[in-house]
Structure formats: structure tokens, C-alpha cells
Symmetry: none
Subunit: 131 residues, 4 copies
DNA sequence: GTGGTCTAGACCACT
DNA sequence: GTGGTCTAGACCACC
């Protein structure tokens, strides 16, 4: 698995796993119905304690990203369910404001920032086409 | 002071203070040369442990947002210095990617996201004009 | 068979089967003396592991819902026997208390809850009349 | 603390803790703003591993029952926030249907059940008045 | 085989 | 002092 976990990072390991799996789904690297490695397998693959993997999987399940088929394994959920849509939209706006603040300290104009965003989107789309 | 700290939040209190002061500077609510309350004063004003305030001031000083004039007090820095420009640009791009991932789960297109960003920028600019 | 089993659910599959058969009996969809499909048949019909079906049937037999006539098959019991009547009554009361607790967090009054219960009963009765 | 945990029960210990705290809040035994024992304290009081306590507290925080004031402790939340109201209402109705099914096997009529419910409510209210 | 739970004991960030 | 994270290793229910 392409998971790249850094135990030295300040973001918790379980959170890194959560983020990377969500990214893989958004990038279509993981498709609905795909089976994930079992907790023990993944634990062995990336040499992280099984409990930590389990914690990541549980959070992903709570968020509706994964589905657990009892006794059979863990899979990417077939349908996206969005809980707390309003709250999450609010957070997106907040993150965008943070970007504007940070831009000020780098002396970037809002136009610079928009250009940068467009470029990031371009790269993102390209990354998805390539597979 | 208009600092609005929420002890219930999951972001550390010292971080909230850092963020809000940086926001105030970006919004021109605080101007270069403005004097900040002393650690003790601010501690009393918002009833937060002085150690926490001190930690926030230290971080802001490290980031070049504040200047400490020994014996005179703490002031908003006259000039923006950018430490770690490259690293901070990288983080901005990373944050933008996070936005794209989150958008996927809310079933927003990249165009939706761009529109949202433009709107946030519009509001941001308006907020600054009003003073 | 109308059994509708969801492998994603957190309630065990064998338990779902038990619940649905008990519901069918209570709703008179299944009548005393009705023959149930064999473990193998049902296993094939709903593509569930035979062990799981067997486990459900065993539990239903223990509860007195089913009767196994050796060599003839499995049938809905002719008479209701109540095992552990007291214990089961206690559990009903406990479930009702759980409802009161949950209602508190949804800011429903006990009257709201009573009204809701009446409505559920109405629908339940209607469902039975319709066949 | 009046917590009564049974390690032999089939419901997980952390879940028992969650249920009992939610019940205490609903019964007004715990009031908004009340401080809960720290993870370590409660761990010592009921001789349960701190991790298990922490798991219960975290779930309660996710549900909005508790609030964590960083470095200061854990408190009963000041305001009830109800997430997933619709889903939880649906579950209440489902639980009520389960009661109707169970009643069938105990040969209780729907009127019997209503009477029982009224009685449980009466006791519930009385329990609250007494303090 | 799968994931869920629990214990014991350690380290760290925050206040 | 507080809670959050992680490891190591165990047991159990379910399929």
C-alpha cells in the first residue's frame, strides 16, 4: 500500500492514515467497493501498531468513508453520505480565510492566491486523468 | 481587546490567540507600531493563564509578527519579514489540496469551490474597506 | 423469502434474521405451523453463510419461536411459550427508560414520546389489517 | 461516583459508562457545568483501565454531552446540541416497534404496553422530583 | 479469518 | 495537573 506515514510528524499517525485514505478516495485511487487490507495486514505492511490502524479505520467508518462487512473485511463505502454538511461548508470558508491571512504575510495579493489555487486544481485534475 | 478565545475548542488557546492577532494585522485592525497589552494585562483582560499568553507572544515574535522592545513593551512589527517563505508556500498548496479532498466528499465541483473562494475573497475585501 | 439482511449493519447477521422472523410472526406474516426453508435453502436464497443461518434458527428454537420436527423440517411453533417472562418484562421497562433518556437529548417531552408511541402503534395495527 | 460497571456484561464497559452518564444527565443528577472526575481519578475509583474511561469520555464528547476544557478537565456540556436528529427519531420509532414485537411474545396487548409505558414515565418523573 | 474490546504502561502537549 | 496518542499483547464475537 502506498500509505506514507511519518511517526515523527506532529499530526497523529491515525490521522495521517485517515487523511491519506480520504485523499486516495477523492483521487479515485481507491474506488467504492475496493477492499482495504485488514487491520493486521496493514499493521504488518507499514509496521504500525494494529490498535492505531483500527482507530483510523473506525474514524473513517464513522465518517462514512468505509464500510465494515462483519467477519469479511473493510471496504470503501459504495455511497457518499455527507453528515454535517453545513458545518463542513463553514469550515471550508474558515480555511479559505486562513489562506487569505497567510497570503498577507507572504505579500501575495488575492489575485496571486487565485492563480495559485487554479494551478493546484489543474495539477489535481491532471493527476486523476493519468490513471 | 476583541480577542475571542474559546476554551472548548480543540485548537489550543495559545494558537487561537496567535491566529486572531495575525488576522487582526492582516485585516489592518492592528497596524505596524501598535502597542499590545502586556502579558499580565492581557491575561487579566481575557482571564487566561499568563503562561498561555506568553507562549502565544513568543510564537508571534518568532514568526516576525511582533517585536519586543525591552522595557518598552510589545509592538506589531514595522516590516513584514518572511521566514521560511518556501515552506509556507508549500503549506498553502497543501491546504488547497485538503480543500479539494473535502469538496469531493461534499460533492462540490472544483468550479463550485472556485466560486466559493471568490465569494470569501469578496467578503474579506469588503470587511477591510468598512473601517 | 422476504428476509432483508444488511451485512453493513452493526447488528450481527444472525441477529437480524432472528429479529425479522420474530417480527413476521408478530405481524402474522408467518403463521403457526408454517414451514420455514431449510438452512441450506435459506442460505442459498439470501446468500448468507449456512453457519450463520443455523445459528439464527438455533436461537429461535431456544426462544420457542420455532419447532424442529426431526426429519420433517422447521416450523413456526404452534403455541407461544414464554421463557423468562419476568426477565423479558424487565428488559422492556429498561428499553422504555432508554427511550426516555434519548428523548431528553432530542428535547422531546414525555407527552411527545407518548404521542409518538401511539402513532407507531396505529401504524403497526394498520399494517396488520392490510393483509 | 455512583457508576456501576459490570465487566461481565456483554455490553462493553466503555458503553456502560457512556449510558450511565447520559442517564445521569437526563435525570439531572449531573447538571451542565458539573465537573467530571478526571480519567485517572475515575479509573482509580472504579478500577477500570484509564484507556477505557478515556474512550467513553471521547464518545460522550463526540455526542456533545461533555466538553473538554484543555488542561482543566471534563465537564457536562452547557447546551444540548442534537446532531442527526432525524436519524435518532427514526431509531426511536424502530425501538418502539421492537417493543411491539416483544409484547406479542409475552401476550401483552398494545393497551397493556401503553399502561406499562405510562407507569415507567411516572416512576421516571418521581425519581427526578425526589432530589 | 475479520474487527471490537480491554489492559498495562509509556510519552507528550496544553494549562 | 489534564486529556491525547501510541505500543504490546490478550481475549472475544462474528462469519
Amino acid at each position: 500500500m502506498w500509505l506514507d506515514v511519518d511517526p515523527r510528524s506532529s499530526t497523529p499517525i491515525y490521522q495521517q492514515i485517515v487523511d491519506q485514505i480520504k485523499e486516495a478516495v477523492a483521487r479515485k485511487v481507491l474506488q467504492p467497493g475496493d477492499k482495504l487490507p485488514s487491520v493486521r495486514e496493514l499493521s504488518a505492511m507499514i509496521t504500525i501498531n494494529p490498535n492505531t490502524i483500527a482507530k483510523a479505520y473506525q474514524q473513517l467508518e464513522r465518517e462514512g468513508v468505509l464500510e465494515v462487512l462483519r467477519g469479511r473485511g473493510t471496504f470503501i463505502a459504495e455511497r457518499i453520505v455527507h453528515v454535517n454538511r453545513e458545518e463542513r461548508l463553514r469550515q471550508i470558508r474558515e480555511t479559505m480565510e486562513k489562506l487569505l491571512i497567510e497570503a498577507h504575510y507572504l505579500q501575495l495579493t488575492t489575485d496571486d492566491l487565485m492563480e495559485l489555487f487554479k494551478e493546484v486544481i489543474r495539477q489535481w485534475k491532471q493527476g486523476k486523468e493519468e490513471r
